[in-house]
């Protein structure tokens, strides 16, 4: 009787050891963001979402996966294409999207780790929760986060990826959102000609140099270096489009002084992120400069030569390493 009992105990002990040994190992590889030493530290709190190779990879899979939409036709990359600085190229108003978002142009996704608010009106207060907006938008992805989690839980490939990234093969909304953030946080554009000139590794042409001076004088107070945005809400004099009636920040804060203010967008990779402004009303940079010259906007009068110089400078913000970074592109499995 005693031997039987001890044999049973021994057997269950061995079973336990075998099970422990057979459990998959969780060893995520830490990653630290690479950015120029001269930049300030990011606004994003990495202590709550440590970057790892596995987390970033999971986020990238999710970013490119139409499983996030109801009928599996739309992924984040449908409107944020890597080769165009993650904007919806050539679409004034991102299509397939209802209501409010249907009234807006999809912004470039760059250097998000330094942003303190998201969307043209700052209605989203943290990168992690941004994805809830497109996922639940009725005509865009038309999904619920609850259902996305259920769909992912049924895919063994995903439960493995979630385990590798977070040590838990149960898919949760928190982990889904944090993984998307991890991928988006790596979208750093810091190697344009402008950056190389600043680092002393390259030189502006004379024309670009003249354009840089014009930029610093007329534009930098809002489009502040090195991000080319001060991350604040400003009114740059665009008249209200009465077919859209988008009051921007004012609709969020309900304060009259915020009416018609929009988040200052970055100008990095501006060559590729046309059409311009929150509603994509301008097709090229010439139109933008003509707008700024109007007396009822900012009244920034430039001669035609100065306009050419300023545009030459703006083109030094194109970062081909960013646009064609294979780590950002569609993941080949």
């Amino acid at each position: 009787m005693a031997t039987k009992l001890s044999a049973a105990v021994l057997f269950s002990g061995i079973l336990y050891l075998v099970l422990v040994a057979a459990l998959p190992a969780f060893h995520p590889q830490p990653v630290s963001l690479k950015y120029p030493d001269s930049w300030p530290s990011p606004a994003y709190d990495f202590s709550k979402n440590r970057l790892t190779k596995e987390g970033i990879e999971l986020g990238r899979q999710l970013f490119y996966d139409p499983v996030l939409s109801k009928d599996s036709t739309v992924s984040c990359s449908s409107c944020h294409l890597s080769y165009t600085a993650f904007t919806h190229v050539d679409h004034a108003l991102s299509h397939g999207i209802a209501d409010r978002i249907g009234t807006r142009n999809s912004p470039a996704l760059t250097n998000l780790a330094w942003a303190g608010s998201f969307m043209w009106d700052g209605a989203v207060n943290h990168l992690d929760v941004q994805a809830l907006a497109p996922i639940s938008s009725p005509v865009e992805m038309d999904e619920t986060i609850e259902n996305v989690v259920k769909k992912l839980q049924r895919q063994p490939a995903y439960t493995t990826l979630f385990f590798d990234a977070f040590g838990d093969s149960t898919v949760t909304g928190e982990h889904l959102l944090k993984a998307l953030s991890q991928f988006e946080l790596t979208l750093i554009s810091a190697n344009a000609k402008y950056d190389r000139v600043m680092a002393g590794k390259d030189n502006f042409t004379e024309q670009e140099q003249r354009g840089y001076h014009l930029f610093q004088k007329n534009c930098a107070r809002c489009h502040a270096e090195p991000f080319f945005t001060n991350y604040r809400f400003e009114n740059n004099g665009l008249p209200l489009d009465t077919t859209l009636n988008d009051y921007g920040r004012g609709a969020v804060t309900k304060q009259p002084q915020d009416s018609l203010k929009f988040k200052v967008p970055t100008l990095r990779n501006i060559e590729f992120s046309y059409p311009y402004m929150h509603d994509g009303r301008f097709r090229n940079l010439q139109d933008v400069l003509n707008h700024y010259a109007r007396a009822d906007s900012l009244g920034i009068k430039l001669s035609s030569n100065e306009k050419v110089d300023l545009v030459a400078f703006l083109l030094t913000l194109t970062d081909r390493d960013f646009l064609f970074n294979p780590d950002f592109a569609f993941p080949r499995k």
Partner: protein, 235 residues
């Protein structure tokens, strides 16, 4: 039986024997058990519905979900214990959620907590547990938690199917909705908290106020109204 097997056996037996001891050591710790009772005229929900008359009108509540958090215990006015980063989502359709057990291990005579989520929680990104956005208590378009959802039917509501729908939240001034609640002079750790919802509906006109879905002056007022209905009984 040979040497190594004997050692292994001893080890296993010790482990197995000590398991209940470990568990027991935990359960003898001093705990605070909060039993929350959503009521309408003293009656709890039946089949997921709170039914009754308020100001002469019949109402039926089918959804009542709310966050409680930042539980703090006090003794002689001093904080003696705090549950950090903990929020519980309570739901009349899930009775288990209405009992909250706090393992404290300290003596206390007062309990403080928040009805709703504080502003730090609202700006800290994605969270897990009861705060996971899959719980349906997060606004997608204008970041922030819904601190409580209260939905149902009332004859008086001029809406489709006479529905009322309150999704109350908001953390930005001037429309903050989190409500601090405190109960003092507690004699036991078993605390019965009644939420008498008639107190909420008596002070409003459902013919006029029936749909509140985003932060506003009205949502801030409704949050205060709900907080006033929390009472401790028999302690």
């Amino acid at each position: 039986m040979n040497g190594p097997a004997k050692v292994l056996r001893c080890l296993l037996v010790t482990c197995l024997l000590s398991m209940p001891l470990l568990l027991k050591a935990q359960s003898t710790a001093k705990t605070c058990v909060l039993q929350v009772n959503p009521l309408l005229h003293g009656k709890p929900a039946e089949h997921g519905l709170l039914i009754g008359k308020v100001n002469g009108d019949s109402i039926a509540i089918h959804t009542f979900q709310f966050y409680l958090g930042n539980f703090t215990l006090l003794k002689n006015g001093k904080t003696v214990w705090q549950a950090k980063n903990r929020y519980s989502l309570l739901d009349i359709n899930d009775a288990g959620t209405c009992t909250i057990t706090l393992k404290t291990g300290v003596a206390f005579d007062a309990l403080a907590f928040d009805l709703g989520t504080d502003s730090l929680t609202n700006v800290s990104g994605a969270m897990g547990g009861d705060l996971d956005p899959t719980k349906g208590m997060y606004w997608a378009w204008n970041s922030g938690y819904v601190n409580f959802k209260l939905e149902g039917y009332a004859e008086k509501c001029p809406t489709r199917n006479h529905q009322f729908e309150f999704h109350i939240g908001g953390y930005m001034p001037p429309f903050q909705t989190v409500q601090p609640i405190e109960f003092s002079d507690l004699k036991t750790g078993n605390i019965q908290v009644d939420i008498e919802l008639s107190g909420f509906f008596e002070h409003m006109d459902l013919a006029k106020t029936h749909t509140v879905m985003s932060p506003s002056e009205t949502s801030a007022k409704l949050a205060q109204l709900l907080a006033k209905t929390f009472r401790v009984h028999g302690n």
